[in-house]
Symmetry: C2
Subunit: 329 residues, 2 copies
């Protein structure tokens, strides 16, 4: 295993500590238990957004903690759910009187632990479950569809709603609307290696790709030969459109997300292909995000997310955000 680390057991703590030093203007990092909170005091009565999940998907979620997005994130070990005590500590630190909104990707371990934290938390709380991965109906670690990169759209848009003063029920409602308006699907060219495992999560041939791969390397729809970027993008858009009902006349946010090991040169090329494919279907990409945002360690590959936008969702997407990974005014 070729990784830039010290001991396998220290990977997460050392990385989080580095993250906290690099972004000390934006976040505070607790190492015991592990959670990240925004440094800027939130307005009284603001709904606090708390997310989390296994590590290895950076910048998700800690990279989205700050003003206008998440109030706190709980990183678990690589590809492993965080524990309820992390979530409770994060919620207590982030709570400013408006209640806690948990944002959870649909994986069995995450769902169980966030539900447990919700039961133990003594204030008002609610949950949004993201399940945007249209590739498969159920998977290794999930009952129902997996939650993947649309979680970024949910966190950004609900973050803006909370910042403008929406209450807990309204925040939950807009988040569920974003999740329902979204579909994602990914393709892997290579596997990735979890540090504690020491070997690749799956084997894949020199010219094979996994269509519909999960962000932990879970199987997708099928294994096949590498095809052109245009053909791959065409298949992803077709699958997402079939699931979300986006089509002729739809306005969408498009996220071309690298899995961690894909050069930006290729991600922008893929975005060009997505742009042409959407054009040909009469869909308008009014907002976009291209880069590595919901990754699988060093996996090569990408995912596409399309979220149908309306005036309110577009305005919330455009609202100011100040985090390590997204920053605009």
């Amino acid at each position: 295993m070729k990784k830039l680390i010290n001991g396998v057991d220290e990977v997460l703590s050392e990385s989080l500590r580095g993250f906290g030093i690099a972004h000390s203007d934006l976040v505070e990092v607790s190492l015991e238990p592990r959670f990240v909170t925004r440094r800027a005091k939130a307005p009284d009565e603001k709904v606090a957004l708390v997310s989390g999940g296994g590590s290895g998907h950076e910048p998700l979620h800690a990279g989205f903690v700050g003003i206008g997005m998440l109030d706190a994130a709980c990183p678990g070990e690589v590809f492993t759910s965080p524990t309820p005590d992390q979530m409770l500590a994060a919620a207590s630190a982030a709570d400013c009187g408006g209640g806690i909104l948990w944002i959870v990707k649909n994986y069995a371990g995450d769902v169980m632990n966030f539900e447990m934290a919700g039961e133990m938390f003594e204030g008002q709380c609610a949950m949004i479950l993201t399940n945007d991965d249209v590739a498969v109906e159920s998977s290794l670690h999930s009952q129902g569809r997996r939650g993947v990169a649309a979680t970024i759209a949910v966190e950004k848009i609900v973050g803006a709603a909370a910042e403008r003063g929406d209450d807990l029920a309204a925040c939950q409602s807009v988040g569920e609307r974003v999740n329902s308006a979204s579909g994602s699907m990914g393709i892997a060219l290579t596997s990735c290696t979890v540090p504690a495992a020491g070997k690749p999560t799956f084997d894949i041939g020199a010219d094979e790709i996994e269509i519909g791969v999960g962000i932990h390397g879970e199987p997708g729809r099928r294994r096949e030969q590498l095809r052109t970027a245009d053909e791959l993008v065409g298949e992803l858009v077709e699958a997402i459109v079939a699931s979300t009902g986006a089509g002729q006349g739809s306005e969408v946010l498009a996220i071309v997300n690298g899995m961690g090991g894909t050069p930006l040169l290729e991600l922008y090329l893929l975005f060009d292909a997505v742009s042409r494919e959407c054009d040909s279907r009469g869909m308008t990409i009014s907002r976009s995000l291209v880069g590595n945002f919901c990754t699988s360690l060093e996996m090569q590959g990408f995912s596409l997310t399309l979220t149908k936008l309306d005036d309110e969702l577009r305005e919330l997407w455009d609202a100011p955000v100040r985090t390590a990974a997204l920053n605009w005014n």
Copy 2:
């Protein structure tokens, strides 16, 4: 070769087109000849910063075009210098009466072509040559040290100087000061594959690393076995300190730069190691950048850049910037 592309000959044009669509609020992209300019009109008499070089290092340079950094960038084919006609066209488009400042990484092809463009350009112009790579004194494609990730610091800091109204000589001077105050060195875990070549640039064993690698995969100081992050960082800091004279009492900007295929989880862990190493030497990291900024396609590895800061350089680093890859207020 496993790449997310259509034809090998279309990689750059399709990627640039996608970049232009994704960032149409910030940049305009010309495909014939190839150059990228900032969309927001620059103030009259502002010095225009024009950079460029081979592609495959994204987001360098096009990702740094916008307000407060580059006025234009000229992308060559992957790992190949852009041509003088690209540079001239970019300079003509970016010129607003204050002269052109070429920012050039020290590679023979780039230097020759930018010098030729400078001779052909009919207005006032000057050049900054970056040569921050302390690994080797000369290399495959360079006479003297190579220019690598400190180019980002030069482009950011000179961009701020130009935006505040410094004239051409002053901009050149501050840029040379940043370059002199900087040292960088990189380590590769894997090679990368230029699309037109179709095979890895170099071979490297399953547990070998290249210490002092260049951003095109050029040889560094030596090939050896993978060691811990702390040990690798210790060697890089030692080499940079020996070259720049940074040490006890120095204030520095630290850039932990991924080569393209390294997970953010590891880059933050490396930054933690850099932070501890600088602490132990009595150096203060007052500013930092952690991520993939000066890449080598999908290469796994990283580089460290340290730039000695003073009050003026720190203020110019902090000045607002609005580009695809760096964005703060």
